[in-house]
């Protein structure tokens, strides 16, 4: 059986989650490997959520927020950008494959971008194979 990755998505309520809804409303098709957690703002994302997601066995983590400058909370995603950038550097220096963590700005009107990103990211994670480094083996 081919490898079907588990991908955790964390999406902000106002842009990316709504954009994901729009992808659905417009019936765009994309792989079903992504499971989305809704938070109010990408700035809600604690870096430890990301570490934990990988420990829980996520093969990839996709964070979605409003485009910088368009944050529903004005500046939330501008903080998130910095914090998640550092998270990414930490993951990479620890030895995790760089491609497993991605941050994308997807607005509420970009259902197509959401579908495209998910499709592309899923493909990328499939190519990377299962994530075994952080995953806690039981």
């Amino acid at each position: 059986m081919s490898f079907e990755p588990k991908i955790l998505g964390i999406a902000c309520n106002w842009c990316t989650y709504t954009g994901a809804d729009l992808a659905g409303t417009t019936r765009l098709q994309y792989p079903q490997n992504l499971r989305v957690v809704r938070v109010m703002c990408s700035s809600r994302i604690n870096p430890s959520f990301i570490f934990r997601a990988f420990q829980l066995g996520a093969d990839g983590v996709l964070v979605g927020g409003c485009h910088p400058g368009d944050c529903h909370y004005n500046t939330g995603n501008l903080y998130a950008r910095r914090r998640l950038a550092v998270t990414k550097k930490i993951l990479e220096f620890s030895g995790l494959e760089p491609g497993r963590f991605r941050v994308e700005w997807i607005s509420a009107s970009e259902g197509n971008k959401f579908a495209e990103v998910v499709t592309e990211f899923t493909e990328q994670i499939k190519n990377l194979g299962p994530q075994t480094k952080f995953k806690i083996e039981q």
Partner: protein
């Protein structure tokens, strides 16, 4: 131990087609703490809601999970069911298996598997949900309307007529907007001024409307029911309280400015009213054109003003207005067609854009309603190019929706006012609207030539100086058309106001990539925004015609009323709080909060949060290193538990 009920919706076949709903309910029943799991055809229907309400009682449920469409769709519906059943409404969790599962896959295996994972996450999270109480706040009964075009005017009048006090803020020195620039409106060809100016006058006279022209919003604080909005009154250099609108000043003024109202086709005075029916009909001074401001002497206007209303020392001032709701109706600009070199706009005098042509037709316009070219000739042949920048990946992808109809209107008016041959270069003729197709038929019968092909190029004629050659393919014959004309009219894309992104930032609105404001839901909440208490109307949301704009204005007024008719308002309870035992006083929360909600309590040595200001974004919780901040409804526990559930299967 929780008692969780899981309710799986089929949504007809919308979900059931690609998710095995009964299997999902059976799966839910196997999960710890789930005491009842059911599936049903339409959970949001009355019987569906009743089923949930009954099960809450029968099974003494303390958590409810509805596995259906997006929470943005029906979370409120089901929260009400919980509340009616005596359960705190925040003990609800929605699993989105429609928009984010069934509609995005064709594969029932995948759809079912993903739904199970999502449901498992929701069950994990549900156990940790806490009952929350909404805050109740007093509501300020006044409303602000930003933008006084037809949308803003209509909304303001509606609200004022219900007895509500309205602040109508307009950037320009007059209200009226683009509609006041038109001569006739399609398809009825009634006179734009005749239907608009009475409304403008009503606004001025209405005791409940505070008209704020030459004003801009500079800061928005507060939240639904209690906005504090700072408005900048730009200096007019004329004291409107003193001015009696005799307009003697405008006659004597030697200054020359470009008439924005006439789209730059003519000059106006430095002290001026934009057009004769302007409201308020009191002049303002254009600093950049005023001889006194440029050279330091003149002040002729001051000399002729008997009311002593001229005040060269006037400064910009700011006032703060308190309102309960806001309607944003900032309208549109036409796209700048100069960069489209192939059409020669700005280079060839014979090329006009649509608003310029509107002014040419207008009897109060630069030519007194006569159609003459910039060199004074009457055009013999006129080409109207549709879809310039609209429906165009390189510019604006949307259809601007009104161009087909106003282009037809132009054709009619050209026929009426000149003897010219009129050609329409179009891609598709869009005439959906009451009386629109009939109007199209009428114009066809007026012998306007329709060429199905997008105008490709405008060049100067080598043989006849001053004439233009338009080039396009007539796609019906497949022939390349080269047509000499005197006038080319471009129908450019409608785009949001140049400062729409600033407005969006001020009012916390989302925009699409062009800057049109995003509505909360394209069908069910087209006038609401993601910001509670802020509504939108007119073209600032998307291109539309006058009837639709007016309809939206009525709608937005009604939406605003739903807020300001109440004395009290319940707010979302999903705010953040500080656990003082864990607070390490790093002040990160205080530093990052966009709303200034957290503050440092020196006495206790810990941070605290003013929940009235908190909007629940959770930023403070994520920057809190010691996890002392609890972002209610999105707590660290809840998110971690949900993640664990999502990753389990």
């Amino acid at each position: 131990m929780s008692r969780i009920g899981v309710f799986v919706c089929h949504c007809g076949l919308n979900i059931a087609k690609t998710v095995r709903v009964s299997e999902l309910a059976e799966f839910a029943a196997t999960l710890p703490d789930v005491v009842v799991a059911k599936d049903y055809k339409f959970m949001c229907s009355t019987p569906g809601q009743e089923m949930i309400a009954n099960d809450i009682k029968e099974h003494r449920l303390d958590r409810v999970i509805v596995t259906a469409c997006s929470p943005l769709m029906h979370e409120q519906t089901f929260r009400k069911v919980l509340a009616a059943s005596g359960l705190n409404q925040y003990l609800l969790s929605i699993v989105n298996i429609r928009e984010q599962v069934s509609w995005v896959t064709h594969d029932i295996e995948e759809g079912t598997a993903k739904s199970k994972a999502l449901l498992n996450g929701a069950v994990n999270r549900a156990r940790l949900l806490a009952p929350l109480t909404s805050r109740v706040i007093d509501v300020n009964p006044d409303v602000m309307v930003v933008g006084a075009g037809i949308a803003g005017i209509q909304a303001a009048l509606e609200l004022a007529n219900t007895g509500k006090k309205v602040y109508l803020v307009e950037k320009n020195s007059t209200i009226g907007g683009h509609m006041a620039q038109f001569d006739k409106t399609f398809p009825t060809l009634d006179c734009s001024a005749c239907i608009l100016t009475p409304k403008m006058d009503n606004v001025l006279q209405h005791k409940n409307i505070t008209l704020m022209t030459s004003c801009e919003v500079t800061e928005v604080k507060g939240f639904v029911g209690n906005f504090d909005i700072t408005v900048k009154q730009k200096a007019r250099y004329v004291d409107h309280d003193k001015c009696n609108a005799c307009l003697a000043c405008t006659e004597k003024c030697p200054g020359k400015g470009v008439s924005e109202w006439d789209e730059g086709l003519v000059k106006r005075k430095a002290i001026y009213i934009p057009f004769p029916q302007a409201v308020p009909q009191k002049p303002v001074i254009d600093r950049d054109a005023c001889t006194y401001f440029i050279k330091g002497k003149c002040r002729l206007c001051e000399k002729v003003c008997e009311q002593k209303a001229i005040d060269f020392e006037q400064q910009d001032t700011s006032t703060t207005v308190k309102v309960g709701a806001v309607i944003v109706a900032t309208g549109y600009d036409l796209m700048d067609t100069k960069p489209l070199l192939q059409y020669g706009y700005g280079r060839y005098p014979g090329v006009y854009n649509a608003l310029e042509v509107e002014r040419l037709f207008n009897s109060a316009g630069p030519t007194g309603g006569k159609v003459t070219l910039r060199d004074g000739r009457e055009p013999q042949a006129i080409a109207i190019f549709h879809c310039i920048g609209s429906r165009d990946k390189n510019n604006y992808e949307h259809c601007s929706r009104v161009c087909c109809m106003y282009s037809l209107k132009f054709a009619h008016l050209f026929k009426e006012k000149t003897s010219a041959d009129v050609y329409q270069f179009y891609i598709d003729m869009r005439a959906a609207g009451k009386g629109y197709e009939e109007f199209y038929n009428r114009i066809i019968e007026e012998d306007v030539k329709f060429i199905r092909g997008k105008g490709a190029r405008v060049a100067e004629s080598a043989d006849e100086p001053g004439r233009l050659i338009v080039e396009a393919e007539d796609t019906i014959t497949g022939k390349f058309i080269k047509l000499p004309v005197d006038m080319v009219v471009l129908s450019p894309a409608m785009k949001p106001r140049a400062d729409s992104k600033d407005i969006a930032r001020l009012f916390n609105l989302s925009t699409d990539k062009y800057g049109f404001f995003m509505e909360r839901h394209p069908k069910l909440a087209p006038l609401s925004t993601m910001s509670e208490g802020i509504f939108i109307a007119g073209v600032c949301q998307s291109p539309k015609d006058i009837p639709d704009t007016v309809a939206q204005a009525y709608g937005a007024a009604a939406e605003a009323l739903t807020i300001v008719v109440k004395d009290k308002l319940e707010l979302e309870a999903t705010t953040a709080m500080v656990n003082p035992a864990s607070c390490c006083a790093c002040l990160n929360c205080v530093r990052v909060c966009p709303y200034g909600a957290p503050f440092f309590n020196e006495q206790k040595g810990v941070s605290e949060i003013n929940e009235a200001l908190c909007k629940g974004c959770g930023l403070c919780a994520s920057v809190c290193p010691s996890s002392a901040i609890i972002a209610r409804h999105f707590t660290n526990d809840q998110v971690l538990a949900e993640m664990e559930g999502l990753m389990e299967f």
